[in-house]
Symmetry: C2
Subunit: 444 residues, 2 copies
């Protein structure tokens, strides 16, 4: 039976822009402990994975709770020891890293966690990030994605540096590994030259899971070629179905099994024991949005300084070259179409970073998750609790059991690796006979 | 009272080149669990820190046990959760990383571990590493060190991005941090341009501990300017005293307190309940050196392929430009002076990577550690167990109590951070009145 996949998208205070201001919410400081509890709660809820984003989203006004973040790979490596089953997906950008370092970190995390690592491949859209890496401006979109393709190829090549059985420890003969089972990469491409091999044995999953979240044409192509999990922003079922169909077709065009590319839109749930309670919680959070913080978040998303505009007037004209992200374009379109004021844009769209908000009882939320899942809109969801920790505990205690009753969700982990949870095959090593899917991959 | 500092230099099977072949030794595979046990044993022995090297030392013959290594920062971050007091020092090279990434990783590790992080600054000496980072050959020595100086300055600057009390969470007013307590770096140097700030609050130790291990003139200067812990290879007391005096004088010349730069030579101990037992253990290990592995290790250390030489003849002439490391030069000198054969060179020097070997009872070993410590040769030691796990357990169970009885070593941890253990002051944030030592640092 097809089962829904669930990820927890980390956000210390919650994903709602103003949640951190709620008295019940984190943060009370900057705390690793809050991540441990969140990961353990998600594991109690049998989630497939936790996911940590990595964006340089610091706004100097001091009004945002997501200004500070742990470096993703140190965070997940520590969480590997505090959990035992849940998958651990970290973001790493192809724009400001070396492929050798990225390959090694994720392979190492995969070893340490016993096969639970995943890499969310991003190219980074904020120019603010570029300023920390010696650049005056960010690489352009097309160039970023060209580098990303080559980068991912190098990383995968490095992950295949060793056959699975290369460690041949023979103490008597003094043989530690079998040299015939080592593969130099000798990659010489347009952007990278990498000899290999990686100084780590092949990792438990063969390759850590590849995740991608770009929605532009280039982003979808990268996802279609490589990604096993695809994060996306979808607020409307019809659009989600169109995205789902398009990406699955692109995956097939790359010679891959569309079932091996799982599409997981983000969902910000606000659960109540009654609809009234849920609505109440939602309104409490909306009331906490400081207009200045709302405006700053909108300005940043749109790449345009909106200081001084009338927040109860219509959204001003935004120069389209400012809209570096597909997400931002979608917001402007929605605002135009629905005639939203500036305040409405940030209240309805920006508070959840563009993601779908669902407000209701556990049954209501299960209904809509089930609907999209069965109607070809999603293979699962990246759950974005509005407020932490309550938003997550409510989801795990109320919504998960409802999904289980409906036969849509596992009642126990059936394996130990993230690949096991997601039902994805383990890529064979280079010594193995080549499968059709792998042959396509290797041919390119 | 002045107390000896102790670090555990990690090596899965042990530091003796052939230890892994011993039936009692790790490895039986590639195992994260072996690192957890080692770190916990060292913590039981009240060690100041564990230390993980990062060198690309893979030889394609398959005869070395240190071919495979975890990526250091993932390893230590995971160990942070499995331990509670011991310091965690990881190596990261300034040659193939970006300062922003390094600053962030170590600050994050410092947060996750509650103030136990240290960074071993290296410039990487093996050209094999360069081939994985787009280069045809390694940067030359002087250029590497020039970059390293600027790199460390940037990293320290980023660690001061925030005052200690910048997080001002005021839920009522919607203020998450105080913008007046944020400092942009705006670094524009010869090699790096980095704007900052770091997207992490200032870490528990202010700055993670800076460690350095270069022995060349350039290496010593880098150490003298920045390092709070200095690793070194010293086999002879007189030379160790000369090194100690030279480095401490250089530290003072930089306007720093020489007591804030702790010198820790490596020691490979082989402990026995009797001298006879210790000698026996040593000889057992020596007998396990496969001549081919000994020769390969020596070839690699000297940067010169020695295949085919008569191992019982004298060391052939080595072209001095091949000797990229101070360590290698020292070995060639010792070999010439003492008229060693090739076999003797690898048996006496290379098996412990050039470090001092001490063989005897707990009292013998305590004697020699005490002698150097009191005679101005060392502030502590980087302990390199010959074989794991026994070599470490023996040290902790036999030598540590002996050092405690002599009043040379702590009987309990007195603080929680690595700075506490090492007795090093916490650098003040940029808002604090400037101390003399810091003024010197800031002026440059
Ligand atoms: C759920 C989700 C998570 C994302 N996480 C990150 C992230 O951590 N870092 C980042 O730079 N971009 C992140 N993105 C943005 C995309 O990966 C991508 O960089 C952005 O949408 C621009 O790419 P595009 O032009 O192909 O749409 C995320 C997007 C989504 C939908
Ligand atoms: C105890 C110790 C540990 C070291 N660890 C590393 C390491 O992890 N990675 C590395 O590239 N070099 C390491 N080195 C080598 C030095 O940091 C330095 O790169 C080398 O000695 C060459 O520098 P020099 O020319 O200044 O001597 C280590 C040296 C010592 C003594």
């Amino acid at each position: 039976m097809r089962e829904m996949k669930l990820g927890l998208f980390f956000a210390p205070g919650g994903h709602h822009l103003a949640a951190w201001r709620h008295p019940d919410a984190y943060p009370n400081g900057f705390s690793f402990q809050s991540y441990i509890s969140a990961a353990q709660t998600a594991e109690r809820g049998l989630f497939d994975m936790v996911f940590v984003a990595d964006v340089f989203s610091l706004t100097p006004d001091g009004m945002r709770a997501d200004s500070f973040r742990f470096e993703p790979i140190t965070l997940l490596s520590a969480l590997a020891v505090a959990t035992s089953k849940i998958g651990l997906v970290a973001t790493a950008t192809t724009s400001f890293n070396e492929p050798y370092n990225v390959a090694r970190k994720f392979a190492s995390l995969d070893h340490i966690s016993g096969g639970r690592a995943g890499w969310n491949i991003v190219t980074s859209s904020s120019p603010l990030e570029a300023f920390n890496f010696g650049l005056e401006e960010h690489l352009n979109h097309a160039e970023r994605y060209r580098r990303a393709h080559e980068f991912v190829e190098v990383v995968r090549g490095l992950w295949d540096s060793w056959d699975d059985d290369a460690i041949a420890i023979d103490k008597t003969e003094g043989i530690f590994f079998d040299p015939a089972k080592m593969h130099m990469l000798n990659h010489k491409g347009a952007h990278y030259r990498v000899r290999g091999p990686l100084s780590l044995p092949r990792s438990p999953q063969g390759h850590p899971i590849l995740v991608q979240a770009g929605s532009s044409e280039d982003g979808r192509n990268l996802a279609a070629e490589f990604a096993e999990v695809i994060f996306t922003i979808q607020r409307d079922l019809a659009e989600a179905q169109a995205f789902y169909a398009d990406v699955k077709a692109k995956v097939a065009a790359f010679g891959r099994d569309p079932g091996h590319a799982l599409i997981m839109p983000g969902v910000l749930p606000i659960v109540g024991r009654t609809r009234h309670e849920a609505r109440d919680r939602y309104e409490q959070l909306q009331a906490l949005i400081h207009p200045q913080a709302g405006l700053a978040a909108l300005s940043r998303t749109l790449g345009t300084d909106l200081t001084g505009v009338d927040i109860d007037g219509p959204l001003p004209e935004i120069r389209s070259e400012k809209l570096s992200e597909t997400r931002a374009m979608g917001m402007v379109e929605t605002a135009r179409r629905d005639g939203l004021t500036v305040r409405q844009v940030y209240e309805r769209l920006v508070v959840s970073k563009g993601h779908r908000q669902v407000v209701g009882t556990a049954a209501d939320i299960a209904d809509t998750l089930q609907e999209w899942f069965e109607a070809g809109g999603a293979d699962g969801y990246n759950i974005m609790p509005a407020m932490m920790p309550n938003g997550l505990t409510d989801f795990v205690e109320l919504v998960v059991p409802e999904l289980q009753r409906r036969g849509l969700y596992r009642r126990a982990y059936r394996g130990n690796t993230l690949r096991d949870h997601l039902g994805l095959p383990r890529p064979a090593d280079l010594a193995a006979p080549v499968s059709r899917e792998q042959a396509t991959v290797r041919a390119r």
